[in-house]
Point group: C2
Chain length 195, copies 2
DNA sequence: CAAGATAATTGACCGTGGTCAATAGTGTAA
DNA sequence: TTACACTATTGACCACGGTCAATTATCTTG
């Protein structure tokens, strides 16, 4: 089914990705232009679209790689024992996700595998996140009356909520930490005996 | 500061909106093209952008109006006394929001007031939602250990989560009701004595 | 009403993502 | 090496959102 790709193909694709990464490193994701990529890479425009379905497919790959690196770092650190630590572990990931409005939008759009298409890099990292959260929740002092998988999905939902708040004029740019702590305290704390 | 708008202006804007609504009614939001709108309305393209900052500003208005109507219906119905009823009240709103992938994306992008710009129609309806949820939560049999405002924002976060899931190939098109019930049960239920 | 000021409208033009029929390159078998 | 099938590349072209200097309509004031 899948033919062996030619050496030339792999070189071209690698060059496109390398050039794109370079442009992003210099000017950010939002500033990336397909025309710039192909011009610097020295190929025609059509070549780009022979390698990537559309511009977003390249973005999915670039942003997905960065998300993967953030999750690697999350996993490398010791698992959080309590809520404050969990928030600490999350902040770097959420900081990258909100580094640009454009990046956040792309991530939201591709965080679920697009229907009937293959699952993309960003969507894969969202699956990874859930796995990591489940591990954290099972290993820490959190509520047990709800399955860890549901709790993990809730953590993701609140993370998105907090990130969206960051781009909101009303609840303007106050940090990620405080609102996330508030939500997760209410979501993850074991039922209090008194209160 | 604000000049009185000319009669002509109001007519032109009304015509643009009417034509756009008609196109949306026929072919959906995604199919709307600015060029079609101006062509049918009988004005030049530049005129459109003298009335709306960009295409999204028109979308914000059209979608915002629909959201407002859904919220009106939500408010008109008797407030929910329990979780199942709350989910019932929410489903029509969420169904509209997920009627098109494109609509959902626009809503997400504009659900928070865009930084430093005026608050838009969609963002306003998200504020309304919170108010409605607060009222529901205060009037029903839900947990009291967390401020109603926080609980309301959580309801919104879970609603977004459930809608996003709908467009996800993995957890494919299963309804809104079940996952939403699961999340909200864990989020809103008063702490159980046993279990 | 005339003249000037302000606001609305026009449409040629641009930027940029994306398409596709034609062409060139690559691997393979005789 | 030649012939052939298949793959990769090309670049002119299109779609569509958005811009702006020039033009036209409307309002105001004497």
């Amino acid at each position: 089914m899948a033919r062996t790709p030619q050496k030339r193909t792999l070189e071209t694709r690698a060059r496109l990705v390398a050039v794109a990464q370079d442009i992003v490193a210099r000017n950010g994701f939002e500033a990336l232009r397909v025309e710039d990529v192909v011009q610097v890479a020295g190929v025609a425009k059509g070549t780009f679209f022979a390698h990537f379905r559309d511009k977003d497919a390249l973005m999915d790959r670039l942003i997905g790689a960065r998300l993967d690196a953030e999750i690697d770092a999350m996993v490398a650190a010791p698992p959080p024992r309590d809520l404050a630590q969990m928030v600490d572990r999350l902040v770097p990931l959420l900081t990258f996700m909100t580094s640009e409005r454009y990046v956040f939008d792309v991530i939201l759009r591709y965080s679920g595998a697009a229907a009937r298409e293959e699952i993309g890099a960003i969507a894969t990292t969202f699956g990874r996140q859930i796995e990591v959260f489940i591990g954290w929740i099972e290993g820490g002092d959190f509520r047990r009356d709800v399955p860890a998988a549901i709790l993990a999905e809730g953590v993701q939902a609140f993370a998105v909520q907090v990130m969206a708040l960051r781009f909101c004029a009303l609840h303007g740019g106050n940090g990620l930490r405080d609102p996330l702590s508030t939500y997760l305290a209410a979501w993850l704390s074991p039922p209090q005996p008194s209160a």
